[in-house]
Subunit: 245 residues, 2 copies
């Protein structure tokens, strides 16, 4: 019998690639999307579509209204998502799109789900390179959560298994992740990384997530197939990003 | 300036006493109630009333729909809350009312709130004696979360302060907690511990939480002022519990 795993899946490039990776490793995947108040319905539909295409056993959505807490441009309505930041700005400090304790919360929900279905393996698309400013994307954080998981649960305390937090993309560049996504057969154009998509699920092309994703395609030497709100063809966009004709 | 603290507050006896304790220590309290799908509206109203009476600076409610995950009699509709369990059953094993990873989730939300308001102190009404079956009520769990909190947050990583998880009731008996509640001026009769209250907020009198609470009043030699669904006077009830005329 294949082992069960919970995969945190937003429908973005990283989490979808992580899901495909877990499937390739032979896990029976229980996908979990967390709707923490920042999402358009179309994003959850995208996550559901991609999860289905990857052959997950189940896909659940938990709604958490983080707007009640605020503190991030992704959840507080009075804060705007920053656009067109320079490469230096992108890699310095912790951005306003940081959601306080976000991965702690996502992993807590994944842990509850895992315990409910008898799984001990949890996958998260955390990445330390592109999100160097996010404290909860670092290996020491993930290790601390693994320790906590064992102490926090009935399954852990009773010694029925050892919880593992897997972050297979942790040390990959965005270009590496894109190549891995294609290798694994992910429908990359369906993944939605943007922090500020429109109601049709088209990316803004200017937020940090869009810029990092565009840079990844450029560095991988691949045309970006993402559908953006401004009607520019993928080939034209790639030229703009690389700055070369 | 007094220090800010986040207090997890369900409106039950333990969390309300914890809130009063934090206030006595001089903290400016930001109370957080988490509505994880098991609650009647009346319970949140009770939490709001008690928080107001204790002079909190703010009271927020975050809704998390844990019914999407299930796994507990408190969140899965197909599981019934156990009633009238024996003292031995009450203190043996992990009950079906255990919510997978519940305190991990509550503390994750409290941590996000704390970071948003610049607080480093988080209070939780965890208790190791009455809830010996709950893995996430043990000191080692709380210590592991404290370690995690420091690694998980911008505020922690930047060294702006040291997160502390306070559980002032951790080693108290229910009788001690009741005495402490009265000392601190808590309106004990307004606190609602029951796992299965009716829409008017009256306790069932038969679930584990009601039985432990009744035992606490009996051991403290105090009349139980709780309003129960069956119309028995407090004095009569106490006789039943203690078994003495």
């Amino acid at each position: 019998m294949s082992r069960r795993a919970v995969v945190l899946m937003s429908g973005g490039l990283d989490s979808t690639t992580t899901c495909a990776w877990a499937r390739e490793q032979g896990y029976t995947v229980y996908a979990l999307s967390v709707d923490y108040g920042q999402r358009h319905r179309v994003e959850l539909e995208r996550a559901r579509y991609l999860a289905g295409r990857l052959g997950v056993a189940e896909h659940r959505v938990v709604r958490v209204d983080l707007r009640a807490i605020g503190g991030s441009a992704l959840t507080a309505e009075e804060l705007a998502v920053p656009k067109d930041r320079t490469p230096e700005e992108l890699t310095t400090g912790i951005p306003i799109t940081y959601v306080p304790a976000r991965n702690t919360l996502l992993l807590a929900l994944a842990l509850g789900y895992a315990e409910t279905i008898g799984a001990f393996d949890i996958f998260i698309g955390a990445n330390v390179l592109d999100y160097s400013g996010y404290p909860d994307c670092r290996p020491e954080f993930l290790q601390a959560f693994e320790t906590l998981a064992q102490l926090a649960t009935q399954a852990g305390v009773e010694g029925r298994g050892r919880f593992r937090i897997h972050a297979p993309l942790l040390h990959l560049t965005k270009a590496d992740i894109i190549r891995e996504a294609y290798r694994l057969g992910v429908e990359v154009h369906q993944t939605l990384s943007c922090y500020d998509p429109d109601a049709a699920g088209r990316a803004c092309g200017h937020c940090d997530a869009c810029l990092l994703r565009q840079k990844g395609f450029a560095e991988a030497g691949l045309v970006d197939p993402t559908e953006y709100q401004s009607e520019v063809s993928p080939a034209e966009r790639n030229l703009t990003v690389t700055g070369r004709p």
